[in-house]
């Protein structure tokens, strides 16, 4: 997976958050302040522009540029958290011109570590971590079992989607939803939902490019 692959992933992520912006906004209206879809669409739109206008010759550079752009454009909690996730992943990928599945898995683990360090969320607190953490585990497991890339990424995306659904029954302990306490139960977390969409885009780009 070269820089072009990672650009395609970011572009696909931008497309899916744009088509799903109203849905994400609605999720955020239920337990937040109704701006998640708007913010993510704006941020990833800016990522697409930045990737067109700026040089990012390696996978690491692509994700680092995307992360920095999100920090500068999104605001809220999502900007720093998604920004940190992508910057951490980018840093993990270093300078290599091509990343294999193991390098991608390590990068996503670094993303998770970065998010958890910044936001201090653990699994079960109804956040983006509840989509990212199971996804990282599923990818590691698939890798260990010798699954091919598209199968492994399908497992990643499926685990993220399930993780996002699992947030429905959780009570929010972090972020704006936590102000609602028990009233946050019964609603999917918007950050987990957007994370599942972004990891789904990764699976889709890999599947399209499979030989």
């Amino acid at each position: 997976m070269d820089a072009a692959f990672f650009r395609d992933w970011m572009t696909a992520a931008a497309a899916v958050v744009e088509t799903q912006r109203d849905h994400l906004t609605q999720l955020d209206a239920a337990i937040g302040d109704a701006d998640h879809g708007i913010n993510m669409a704006r941020g990833f739109g800016a990522v697409t522009v930045a990737l067109e206008q700026k040089d990012a010759p390696t996978p690491g550079a692509v994700l680092t540029l995307a992360g920095s752009t999100l920090i500068s454009k999104v605001g809220g909690a999502s900007g720093p958290l998604y920004g940190m996730a992508l910057r951490s992943a980018g840093k993990s990928l270093g300078d290599v011109p091509d990343a294999d599945l193991a390098a991608l898995a390590a990068a996503l683990e670094a993303a998770l570590a970065g998010v958890q360090k910044l936001g201090a969320a653990r699994e079960g607190e109804k956040t983006m971590v509840d989509a990212l953490a199971p996804a990282v585990s599923a990818l590691a497991k698939a890798l260990a079992e010798g699954a091919p890339a598209d199968g492994a990424l399908a497992a990643l995306a499926a685990a993220a989607a399930e993780g996002a659904q699992a947030t429905i029954s959780m009570q929010a302990l972090k972020g704006r939803a936590s102000y609602l306490g028990p009233r946050s139960v019964g609603h999917e977390d918007p950050g987990a939902a957007s994370m599942a969409l972004i990891l789904g885009a990764l699976r889709d780009v890999a599947a399209q490019q499979a030989p």
């Binding site: 109704a34 720093p80 936001g119 102000y179 306490g181």
Partner: protein, 330 residues
């Protein structure tokens, strides 16, 4: 929902252009979204920077000026601003005596201001941050993101601003800001939700006879839903919650704040109820504000903020201030 806008995407920039045109005392960088005093930083004075989502006007841009903020960073509606803004603001207000960041306690505000403070430190600017968390509606526990920063932000900006204007050092300005935060408590009640321009419909629905108790300032639901009641009962509900957390005694600064959609006649009516309630507790209101100071677009509702005063804090409150939203003493 009818709004006086041109298009949802340009609300913030169009409004900032209006602020710039209306207030020559302000320098408004519309592209970078930073509002500063037109005269620039005061050498030797601590610079005060705050910021947050747009939609709470006059907070924070309306409080930039002599005796209060040096800079405000407006984000997108109800969205924390980004580190770039706070860094630019910090550099713009640095008079060589350090900079105070006044940060409302929301995850986004805290994270973005934290990143900005680190970047500013990298550039050699001395930054101290004070987090405002006066809202009693959220039970402060390990199980939430902590108490929200609401009305006390206005008190902190005014009182810390006054001390900074006297030339006090950064540590002292930060200390008084912290003291005001610790002496202040707030509670809000909504009669309606509000509509974010880009979302097009209210963030939550309240029935004709319903109110929301313990609201924040972003249209997010609060502690619980309840039936509409007379103003006296709503004032009592708010003040009971505050009193349970921090007993209301002595000399008080009280703000009865409109959420944006409530007429002044109702805010004064509420102030009467607040005044009677506090007299009943044996407390004395020595300073007050009644009006729209920290709003939530067109939400109908109010918040009460109470600060237990000292002589020093009263002197700082009375100190001259010259901003679009607060002006006295000159």
């Amino acid at each position: 929902m009818k709004k006086l806008i041109n298009a949802p995407d340009t609300v913030v920039t169009d409004a900032l252009a209006g602020v710039a045109a209306a207030h020559p005392s302000l320098a408004v960088d519309i592209e970078n979204k930073v509002i500063t005093r037109a005269g620039g930083p005061t050498p030797g004075k601590v610079g005060l920077v705050s910021g947050g989502g747009s939609g709470h006007e006059p907070l924070h841009g309306g409080f930039v000026g002599l005796g209060m903020l040096d800079a405000a960073c407006p984000g997108e509606v109800f969205t924390s601003p980004v580190p770039d803004q706070m860094l630019a603001a910090t550099k713009a207000v640095d008079g060589g005596a350090g900079v105070l960041h006044i940060v409302k306690n929301y995850t986004g505000d805290v994270l973005n201001f934290q990143m900005a403070a680190e970047l500013a430190a990298d550039e050699g600017i001395d930054v101290t941050s004070v987090v405002v968390n006066d809202d009693v509606a959220v039970q402060d526990s390990l199980y939430t993101a902590g108490r929200r920063g609401v009305g006390a932000t206005v008190f902190v900006e005014k009182i810390a601003g006054a001390l900074a204007e006297r030339g006090a050092p950064l540590a002292d300005v930060a200390a008084v800001a912290t003291e005001v935060n610790e002496r202040s408590r707030s509670f809000g009640v909504a009669l309606t939700s509000c509509t974010i321009p880009a979302a097009g419909k209210p963030t939550f629905e309240l029935g004709d006879n319903e109110i929301e108790l313990g609201i924040g300032i972003h249209g997010e639901p609060g502690r619980r839903r309840a039936p509409l009641a007379p103003a006296a009962e709503l004032a009592a509900a708010a003040l009971d919650a505050i009193h349970a957390d921090q007993p209301l005694t002595g000399d008080l600064l009280v703000m009865v704040n409109g959420m944006g959609g409530t007429p002044l006649i109702e805010l004064y009516l509420l102030y009467n109820e607040v005044h009677k309630y506090l007299a009943g507790k044996g407390a004395r209101i020595t300073r007050n504000l009644v009006g729209n100071y920290i709003t939530s677009l067109e939400m109908q509702g109010f918040s009460v903020t109470v600060c237990r005063m000292t002589d020093t804090l009263e002197q700082l409150w009375d100190a001259p201030v010259d901003t679009p939203a607060l002006r006295w003493g000159r």
